[in-house]
């Protein structure tokens, strides 16, 4: 055995700094703890397990925010498998926050349903850890494994209501679409690997799936056909995950059929992870940007237009929010493209994601509190007169939807504003125009939701009384914890809209 090999193995082993991924390891251990508790605790104490899950995540989030908010210096670990930076640390906080909201939504949605519950929380924790690692990945093997861990978890979460055929059908559709996109992504990786490992070409490397090595190769061979095809396939695979045109076909069906917490999880965390990967990949593929940027620009414009116009005719609440999420993906894509020439736009994309998280979670929390046997059937009529019947939920819905629509002075407005500034600075005037058209169109359907909640008389009282099922009031299951969660989401939307003070230096990219 040559000593060189042993030495290099030793060097790689020395970079296995487990401390670098302590939040993900804690999440994994917490997931195992939940499963163990289900066996150990007596049946009547099972109600405490979701609370333990939420408590554990809140403690972890608190620790990171208080002691480790910047994430230390940028560094690679595990032999170049993961790269940590301030961006990945912000995303880590993002995923944890989203996962706390999702766990709470799951607690609400699973009330009065005979289902196995604990697994949902355990899988949520594992998926959150996987998404966080996906955002840090610096190597195609790491990226693929993290992505698949998250995706396989999502298959289960989407079809979790297995007594509801709609949930199962959504699960099947997500399964086929998710597996198809993974296969396309994988084939792209294969072609990139094949191109960049060819010893006959300059800049080739034995470890060509590492993003830095790949970039070195692409700089030396910016016209390699195999690499360009590979890149386009990889970008297509990621576009499936973020729901960008023309890979958005699964979004409305899956969002409608999935349980509310899963829809929120897919809309927020899965999309954010896709964008984290896209930000890394756009940097890696920078030598090919004469092909990549026009493709991404076209996708961004079509995504914004499709998302907004398709949402106009929808009546199902989760389809409306899903298609509006497609248009948000388009806005975020503008930010990603602008980040090529305006470095601080990366942070603006993150700000947009946080604003989107807070707005979406407020809206989904309201959906979770609407009385309905299966939440896939929620439509605009179910909001009827919500503001009169439960003012608190009405306000939460108005602020959440307002923030998603980008009404000043809420956080969503600042997010869109920053994206437009980025597009202006990067001189993407066509995309800027498309974005503004998109915002104008989106006001119509967002206002439709508000109108249903505030100005329409609730029509179904008599019908329900005739059939002998007294209809529950919306928010009848609202607990103190629930109020706190919703207040955090709407307060975040309002405060971030008025006051970005502490984030100022971060937003300006220093």
């Amino acid at each position: 055995m040559p000593t060189d090999t042993l030495n290099s193995l030793g060097e790689i082993a020395a970079t296995n700094t487990w401390g670098a991924i302590y939040p993900e390891m804690i999440l994994g251990c917490l997931a195992l703890l939940l499963l163990a508790l289900e066996v150990i605790l007596p049946k009547f104490a099972h109600g405490a397990i979701p609370r333990i899950a939420i408590l554990g995540q809140v403690l972890l989030l608190g620790y990171i925010v208080i002691f480790d908010v910047s994430g230390g210096s940028s560094r690679v670990a595990f032999g170049g498998m993961v790269e940590l930076s301030a961006t990945t640390q912000a995303l880590r906080i993002f995923f944890l926050l989203a996962s706390i909201f999702v766990s709470y939504l799951a607690m609400v949605s699973f009330e009065n349903k005979s289902l196995a519950r604990i697994e949902y929380f355990a899988i949520t924790l594992v998926v959150t850890g996987a998404l966080s690692i996906m955002a840090m990945s610096n190597h195609f093997v790491m990226l693929f494994v993290a992505l698949e861990t998250a995706t396989v978890g999502f298959y289960v979460l989407v079809s979790y209501f297995r007594q509801n055929p709609l949930s199962l059908e959504a699960g099947l559709k997500y399964l086929i679409m998710g597996a198809l996109s993974s296969a396309i992504l994988l084939f792209g990786i294969v072609l990139l690997y094949g191109a960049a490992s060819n010893p006959a070409l300059a800049g080739s490397s034995l470890d060509s799936m590492n993003f830095q090595n790949l970039r070195v190769f692409l700089e030396a061979n910016p016209t390699d056909t195999l690499a360009i095809i590979g890149m386009l396939l990889v970008i297509s695979g990621v576009a499936f995950k973020i729901g960008a045109f023309p890979f958005q076909i699964w979004i409305p069906d899956v969002y409608q059929g999935a349980p509310v917490p899963t829809t929120a999880f897919l809309a927020v965390s899965s999309k954010a992870a896709g964008f984290a990967v896209l930000l890394t990949l756009v940097k890696t593929f920078a030598p090919l940007s004469n092909v990549l940027i026009p493709v991404l620009s076209g996708i961004a414009a079509l995504t914004i237009l499709f998302g907004n116009f398709a949402a106009l005719t929808q009546r199902n609440l989760k389809r409306v929010i899903g298609l509006s999420g497609v248009s948000h993906a388009g806005f975020l894509l503008i930010g990603v493209i602008a980040a090529q020439s305006v470095p601080e736009a990366t942070n603006w994309v993150l700000f947009y994601l946080f604003a989107y998280l807070l707005g979406s979670m407020a809206v989904f929390a309201v959906f979770a509190h609407l009385p309905k046997a299966w939440d896939s059937d929620l439509d605009l009529d179910d909001l009827g007169d919500l503001a009169k019947r439960n003012g608190f939920l009405g306000i939460a819905l108005a602020i959440g939807i307002g923030s998603l629509a980008g009404i000043p002075p809420l956080a969503g407005f600042i997010g869109k504003f920053l994206i437009f500034v980025a597009a202006f600075k990067a001189e993407l005037f066509t995309l800027l125009g498309v974005g503004i058209v998109g915002v104008v169109v989106s006001i119509y359907y967002y206002f439709g939701v508000i109108k249903a909640a505030f100005f329409e008389v609730w029509r179904f009282t008599d019908e329900n009384e005739e059939s002998g099922t007294p209809s529950a009031l919306p928010g009848a299951t609202l607990t103190a914890l629930g109020k706190l969660t919703i207040v955090v989401a709407i307060a975040g939307s309002v405060v971030l809209g008025f006051f970005q003070g502490p984030l100022g230096s971060w937003l300006s990219g220093q």
Partner: protein, 101 residues
């Protein structure tokens, strides 16, 4: 004729294309699922061929990960298909259209 890298990659690409169009065209969920597996295996063949002809082991190692991932996907996927069949008594795609505009 000697079989070289090009032939392996051509077979890999052909398998991938067969799988891809199978997913788009077939109506039976199980057949679609087999086509998805075919696509993953086409990728495996490509990885092994590149790894063998270009030197370096990362492609070969990656194959272990893809196989594991594919197994996990099958385990979850078949469970979903069986659960759906119990509810709807069919796995034909045209019949599964409850979610629509």
């Amino acid at each position: 004729m000697t079989v070289g890298l090009e032939q392996y990659i051509a077979v890999s690409a052909a398998l991938f294309a067969i799988g891809f169009f199978g997913v788009l065209r077939r109506k039976n969920t199980l057949v679609i699922y087999m086509c998805l597996e075919l696509m993953l295996n086409a990728c495996n063949l490509g990885l092994i061929a590149f790894s063998r002809y270009h030197g370096g082991m990362s492609g070969s190692v990656f194959v272990f990960f893809t196989i594991t991932v594919a197994a996990a996907e099958v385990a979850v996927g078949l469970a979903i298909i069986v659960a759906l069949f119990r509810k709807r008594q069919t796995v034909q795609v045209p019949a599964l259209n409850a979610l629509k505009n």
